[in-house]
Every structure is written in C-alpha cells, then in structure tokens.
C-alpha cells in the first residue's frame, strides 16, 4: 500500500528544490544573452564602457550562476533518489533528453563559462565574444532539452508501454523532439528568462541613475535592457503557454482548471477575470466574466469549445473503468499467462493503464473496487482548481505590469530621455520582484496543474515515488532547506553589495566610488 506521507513529502521536496532552482535559472538565461549583446557592441564600437558593462554584469551573472549550477545538481539526481519508480518506468524516454542536455548543452556552457570569466587576457576580442555567445547558446540549449523532457511529462508522445519490461519505451524519437507542448514551453520559458535578465539590468541601472552616478554606464545598460526586455515580454505574452493547452488531455484539464471552467460552454467561452473556485460544489463563486474572451485566447477560434471540468471528469470515469480492466489483464500477463486473447485485449485498453492506477490511491485490491472508491479516483483525476486559478492570474498580472514598464522604458530610450523622470525610475525599482513572481507562479501552474500525474495519463505521482521512509525524506529535505537558506543569504548579500558598488567594483579607476576614495586618499596625503 502506498504511504501517503511519503508521496506528499516527496512532492514537497521536489517543489521546493525545483522552485528554488528556478530562482537562478531565468537570470542565467537572460543575462547570458544580454552579456553577449553588450560584448558584441563592444567589439563593434571598441568603446571601453561596453567592455566594463560585460565585466560588471558578468560579475553579477557569476554570483547567480554559482547557485544555478549548485541547485541544478539536485535536479539531475533526485529523480533517482526520490522518484525511483518514475525513473524505472519512463527512464527509457525521459533519460535521453537529460543525457543529451549534458552532452550537447551543459558541457558547452560550463566549459566556456570558465573562459568567459578568466580568458579576457588570453583570447582575442573576437574569440572572447564567440565564447560569450556560446555560453548563451549553451544555456538556452540546456533549457531546450530540459523542456523537451518536461514537455513529455505533460504530453507523453512517441512512446509505448511494454508489459514484459514493465515500462514505457521510446518508439518515435522525432515525436519526442517535435512535441508541440515542448516547443511552446521552450519559447515561453526562455523568453521569461530574457525578461528576468532585462528587468534585473533595468532595475540596477535605474538605481545608479537615481543616485546620479556612473551615468554613461547606467544609460547604456538601461537602453539595452529596455529594448531586449520589450521584445522578450511581447514574446512571453504572445507565445504564452495557453497556445499549448489544446494539446493532450493533461493540458486540456489544466486549461479548464486554470480558467475554473466547470461546465462546457458554447463557443466561444467567457473568460473569468476573478472569482472564487469552489471544488466541492464545482462552481466559481462571485465570478466576474468577459464573454467570449477565453474561447478566443485558448482555441484561437470562435467556434471551438473549451471543455469543462465536469465533462472531463465523466470522460475520466470511463477511462478509469477501462484502466482497472487493463491492470487486471496486466496482472495475468505478468503471471505468465500467454493466452493471445489476453494480450490482444490488453493492447486494446493499455492506454488506460495509468487511469487504472489512479484507483490504487484509494483501493488496496484493484479486483475489488467499490463505487465509492471509483468516485474518489474520478475526483482525484483533476487538480485542485483554486490555487491554479489564482496562480495563473498572478502570472498574467506580473507579465502585463512588466510589459508596461518596458514600454515606457523603451519609449524613453527612443526619445533619448532615459533617467529624466525620477518617478519612473522609482517605479522601475519596484518592479524587481515581478519576473520571479511570474516564473514561479508559471511553473506552479505547469506542474501543479499536471496533478495527479507524474507523467500525464500514464503514471500517477503516488505510484512514482521511491521506497523511502518519511524520516529519510524529512532529513534530506531539512538538510537541503537549511543549506539552501544559508546559500541564499550569502548570494543576496554579495549581489546587493556588488550591485550597490556598481562598476566601481571592477577597480578600473574609471567609476564614481573609486574616484571618491582616490580623492580621499589624495587629500590625506
């Protein structure tokens, strides 16, 4: 029987480590590109200030990068430590993109990032620029492969269950690569990373402008960040994840949950701006709706329906019933029954095997499922609506706010008025948390919205865990949380300290704070 506490703790540990990891990843994705752009300008114009920009923003990039690498280690190995049945069950497919990520992307990024930091005097300008671009390319390719792996968890294409080996096996590698869900997620996620990098540079540059310090440095940084950020924000919003929500059952459920769409509406469905989803009564209370909008966003058409949760659940009920049968046949096959009829029947229903496993969360014996247990499994087949509903709205709101920030910043840039409005600079400073709110709520929607599945329609989370005790998980989670907290404090401390110092921390003798200390020293003499 499944130990529920182990399942919940494993989920919590994964959520904590993944969300923590993703505090650092988007900044790496965004800053690596910004660094490459800045260095390109340096190589083209030959102006020293652009080189100083690369070196200073590169310093902050390094502080962030160290934690990204550190927390990424956990991600690579915790499928094995905490999700061993998952690893066995889908490793044949899921392992491949992870291994390819290492070989194709992470090696490139990590080998060359050393040259980025320490190769300035040993490489020609153009070679160093090439290194910087390859670091950016490596980090983005890395995201591509990780999202191919994650996209497969949402929409598991190109694979088939093999009852002899008791696992999913790869049958179509091309389908895995071209998984439309993965493609959409990739563009959306890396764009969100670029937005994060751009806000980061924009905010810190605004700080120098407000302090009236290192203006040439700050204006140029501001200008690059505003243009890059505007393009990236438009890309995040227009190529939003919603466009991938028609693809695959899990995504359909997620869409309905995110929009708290209990009933199937006539097309085009209304968009619920805000309200309070009530899971028990299956209604959204105090809902404020805009007619027609959601159908338009979600299906990109006026006549396609968005299927509601109630209807989806009824559909799941049938699949669970089929799935129970599939599991019964599987048991016979595993016990060595070689009757071709059993095999034939199994092949007909094996796509519902995962749905049958949903029942195992409630019934010990799959041959003896009561109506009540079946209903529990049906209710369990969709995620909790309210957290998704609110998280999604928080994500969208952060995106819209950032779009406004970048639009004004870019306008000022185009009119050569950067830094003239102190009010705007102060507003920009306040926007610092927005990208992190956006990416964390975004991932929450993606992963919590996938519940109860670890692999959509194939493997429920409660089956995917390792055979561990709660004590083991508490210990490991406690250790990691403690270390991660210490690391975060050290990181924030250094980040704030160097961000405040600004380019003076390079000790080139060209920037404000150094000049002050030089003058002080001169006076003392």
């Amino acid at each position: 029987m499944i130990n529920e506490a182990v399942v919940e703790l494993s989920r919590l540990q994964f959520a904590l480590t993944a969300m923590y990891h993703f505090l650092f990843v988007p900044l790496t994705l965004g800053l690596s590109f910004l660094l490459a752009i800045m260095e390109s300008v340096y190589v083209i114009t030959g102006k020293q200030v652009y080189k100083d920009m690369v070196r200073f923003w590169g310093k902050l990039f390094g502080i962030n990068f160290a934690l990204g690498v550190t927390t990424g280690l956990t991600m690579e190995f915790q499928f094995g430590t905490n999700w061993s049945y998952f690893s066995h069950y889908v490793g044949d497919i899921f392992g491949a993109p992870l291994a390819i990520e290492g070989l194709m992307a992470f090696f490139l990024e990590s080998t060359l990032v050393g040259l980025f930091f320490f190769g300035w005097d040993r490489l020609s300008k153009v070679k160093h620029l090439m290194v910087t671009w390859l670091v950016a390319l490596g980090s983005n390719l890395s995201a591509l492969w990780i999202l191919i792996a994650n996209g497969w968890m949402q929409n598991p294409v190109g694979s088939e269950f093999n009852y002899q080996t008791m696992r999913m096996e790869l049958v179509d590698f091309g389908a895995l690569l071209m998984n439309p869900v993965a493609q959409v997620k990739f563009v959306h996620t890396v764009s969100a990373g670029y937005v994060t990098g751009a806000i980061f540079v924009l905010v810190i540059s605004s700080y120098y402008l407000l302090k009236n310090r290192d203006l040439a440095f700050a204006r140029r940084s501001f200008a690059i960040a505003s243009a890059f950020g505007l393009a990236a924000t438009l890309s995040v919003i227009l190529l939003g994840d919603e466009s991938g929500y028609e693809l695959g059952e899990v995504q359909r459920v997620k869409l309905a949950a995110v929009e708290a769409e209990w009933e199937t509406h006539e097309a085009p469905a209304p968009f619920t701006v805000i309200g309070f989803p009530n899971q028990e009564l299956e209604v959204t209370e105090y809902a404020l709706q805009i007619p027609g909008l959601m159908g338009l966003i979600a299906t990109r058409s006026l006549d396609e329906e968005v299927i509601g949760l109630k209807e989806l659940k009824e559909y799941h009920r049938q699949r669970i019933i089929n799935g129970i049968y599939a599991n019964q046949l599987l048991a016979q096959l595993r016990q060595g029954n070689e009757d071709p009829l059993v095999k034939e029947n199994f092949d007909k229903v094996k796509d519902d095997l995962g749905y049958g496993l949903l029942v195992t969360a409630f019934a010990d014996d799959i041959n003896n499922v009561t109506e009540e247990q079946l209903q529990m499994a049906v209710d369990y087949s969709i995620p909790k609506v309210a957290p998704l509903f609110f998280a999604f709205r928080l994500m969208v709101a952060s995106g819209v706010l950032m779009l406004l920030v970048f639009a004004v910043a870019f306008y000022q840039n185009a009119r050569r008025r950067i830094g003239q409005s102190r009010t705007f600079l102060k507003l920009v400073m306040l926007s610092l948390p927005l990208p992190w709110i956006g990416v964390e709520t975004g991932w929450f929607v993606a992963e919590y919205g996938r519940q109860p599945w670890a692999i959509g329609e194939i493997l429920p989370v409660h089956v995917a865990v390792s055979d561990l005790t709660t004590g083991q998980i508490w210990l490991s989670m406690g250790l990691m949380t403690a270390l991660y907290t210490v690391f975060l404090i050290a990181e924030m401390y250094l980040m704030i300290r160097f961000a405040k110092q600004g380019p003076s921390s390079l000790h080139t003798g060209r920037y404000a704070l150094e000049k002050e200390t030089d003058q002080l020293k001169a006076r003392e003499v």
Binding site: Y85, H88, A99, G114, L115, Q472, F487, S505
Partner: protein, 378 residues
C-alpha cells in the same frame, strides 16, 4: 548493430564517462581536498583555487552527464542505486553544493573569516564525494540488499551505516587518495615556489599510498569477498529484465573474468603501477608525466572494479537472481541506439573544446599574478 553489441557498447561508454569524470573533476576535487592541507597563506590558497577556476565547472559536467547517461542507458540502475543509497547520495549532493559557491564567493570579500569558512567548505565538498563514490563501489563489489516486486518496483533494505563497512571504507580511501594524487599532479603544472615543493611531497605520499591500499583492496577482494555469477542460459540479444535470470554467490567469482580474459590483468597492473609511478614522478617534479600516469592509474583502477564485476553492475545480496547486470538493466534497443549516435557526435565535440580551453589557460600561476588581478580572479 544488434542489441547485444549495443549493450556492451553502453557498458564501455558509461565506463568512459566515469573515467572521464574521475580524471577531470578528479583533479579539481583533489586540489580542493588538498586546499587546507598543504597551504600556508591566503595567496597560496588563491593560487590553488585559481589553478582550477576556469575548469571545475566544465569538469563537473562529466558527473552530471554520467548521471544523465545512467538514467538513459540503465534506468533501473539509476533508480535502484540512487534511491537505495539515499542518504549517501543526499550527502554527496550536499557536499557538492559547497564547491560552485565556495569557488565563486570566497575571494569576492576580503575578510579572513569569510574566506577561511569557504575554504573549509571547498575542502569538505571536494573530499567527501570521492570518499562516498569509493564506498559505493566497495559496497557494489560485496552486493547490496535490494529486491523487486513483480512490477519491478524496487525496495532497498540496507541502512546508511551498513554501507560504512571496512572494505568499503578502504575503497573510499583509495578513491580519495587517487584523486588527491591527480590533484597534486595538476598543481605541479600550475604552481611554483614553496607551494610547488610541498605539492611534490604530497603527490609522492598520496600516489604511493593509493598504490599500496589499492593492492591491499585487490588482495582482500580476491580472497575475502565472494563474487556473483549468472547461472542461467540467456541470449544477450533478447529483451530482459532483472527478473528473468538466475544468479548466485560464489567464492572467487570476481576472479573468473581474469582467467577468461587474461589480458584483463593489465587493468589492476596499470592502476597500481600508474599510481606508484605518478607518485615517483611527482616527487621528481615531472608534473606533466605525473598527471598522465595518475590519469592512467585512475583508468586502471576503475577498469579493475568494472572488469571484475562484469557483467554485474549492482548485485543483490538479498536475491542474487535479481542483481542488475549490463544485459538486463538496459534501456530498449531504440534508446541505446539513439543515445549511441548522439554520443558519437557530441563526445568528440566536447573533447575538442575542452582541450582548447585547457590550451588557452595553460601556464603557471604566481603570487604576483594573483595580486595584480585580485578583483577579477577567484
């Protein structure tokens, strides 16, 4: 290319990744382990850290890729070993956390206390993982307690402290010392002055000790530890799971491969000889040669462990028949084939830019260089 051949290729490729990891990440872990042992002041420690600064991150990817390759090629090994050795694995990860942060943050501030703390973190993060990897191999050679149910769900019945048995600890020491030798050999190419003189001594000591303890472990393995053998007939080309064979414990079974394939004896000979000679060349101040020899020694030692156990990867002491072998713990033929093609394309590319990066950063680091670039170096 048939399934059987692909299975053998992947056994070799995982070995290559492990050896690649031990040779590359091994030298920076070795340097990290020696950091607080052979230095006298901050500037020496900065020389040591900066000797590996441009490379540790790329090197670490060998470890990550080995993890990914294990996942892709032998998913059930990935699942069983990491969940079975749960606390050991978490401890390894926790130790590894300290390195990226320690390297990058340590010299960003001037305070002695700040730097001293990070130095210990780097030392801990560099010494603990090799010990645990060695301990893990020591346990694999003795078999570990796990079993599968009929749906191939694994359960592990051992404890963390049971891993720390005498033979496994001996293996842990061999692993730590061999990487310390590798790190010493690296430092001989990167340092000068007093530090260089101390590294010469340390390399000799660790190299000689590695050889002695490795020899000891070999004798213990040959005469004191029972090996495993597959007792059922099977076809390497067939689809297999760990539930489809029989196997048993047999004394002297880990020597069977040496009588079947006599040239396999070269692996322990190279392992022992390479390490001993690396120590001697280190003492003589021949850094490049010492590095080459200790790299060979590492390869020999890892090949000894792998070659003795072949075809076993992770024997089960609970039910020997459920042991994981390279015949029945693999991915499907399709996945092995695709990953093989990917490896053929990307491993040479990775090696070429890795070599280029070492070429660019070649040369010794001096105290003057550190002082001059105090704000841009680690």
């Amino acid at each position: 290319m048939d399934y059987e051949f692909l299975k053998v290729i992947w056994w070799v490729l995982v070995g290559v990744l492990l050896i690649g990891f031990a040779i590359t990440d091994g030298f920076d872990m070795g340097v990290g382990s020696l950091l607080n042992v052979i230095t006298k002041d901050d500037s020496e420690r900065r020389i040591m850290i900066n000797s590996i600064a441009p490379h540790w991150d790329g090197n670490q990817v060998w470890f990550i890729t080995a993890g990914g390759a294990l996942f892709a090629a032998w998913p059930v090994v990935y699942a069983t070993s990491f969940s079975g050795f749960y606390m050991a694995m978490i401890l390894t990860l926790a130790a590894l956390f300290f390195r990226p942060i320690g390297f990058d943050y340590r010299s960003k501030l001037e305070g002695t206390k700040w730097r001293k703390n990070w130095d210990w973190c780097i030392g801990f993060g560099s010494a603990v993982p090799p010990i645990i990897f060695g301990v893990a191999f020591g346990n694999l050679l003795q078999g570990v307690p796990f079993q599968f149910d009929e749906y191939l769900r694994v359960s592990y019945t051992g404890s963390f402290f049971a891993l720390l048995n005498p033979f496994a600890i001996l293996c842990g020491l061999v692993s730590l010392l061999m990487l310390a030798t590798q790190g010493g050999a690296w430092l001989l190419m990167k340092t000068d002055g007093h530090l260089y003189e101390r590294v010469r001594k340390s390399t000799f000591i660790t190299g000689a000790l590695t050889a002695v303890l490795f020899g000891l472990a070999g004798i213990w393995l040959a005469f004191g530890i029972d090996g495993y053998v597959i007792t059922s007939e099977f076809d390497g080309n067939s689809v297999m799971t760990p539930l489809m064979k029989t196997a048993e414990l047999q004394s002297g079974a880990w020597l069977a491969n040496y009588s079947a394939v006599p040239w396999l004896i070269l692996a322990p000979v190279i392992g022992l000889g390479g390490m001993l000679l690396a120590g001697i060349m280190g003492a003589a101040g021949r850094g490049g040669l010492a590095f080459l020899l200790s790299s060979l020694g590492i390869a020999g030692i890892i090949m000894t462990a792998g070659g003795s156990m072949f075809p076993f990867l992770m024997p089960s002491s609970t039910f020997p028949s459920m042991s994981l072998t390279m015949w029945d713990a693999t991915s499907s033929e399709t996945t092995l084939m695709i990953m093989f093609v990917v490896a053929c394309i990307f491993v040479p590319i990775v090696l070429s830019y890795t070599v280029w990066s070492y070429f660019v950063m070649f040369g010794r680091l001096t105290k003057e260089h550190i002082a001059k670039n105090s704000h841009s170096l680690y």
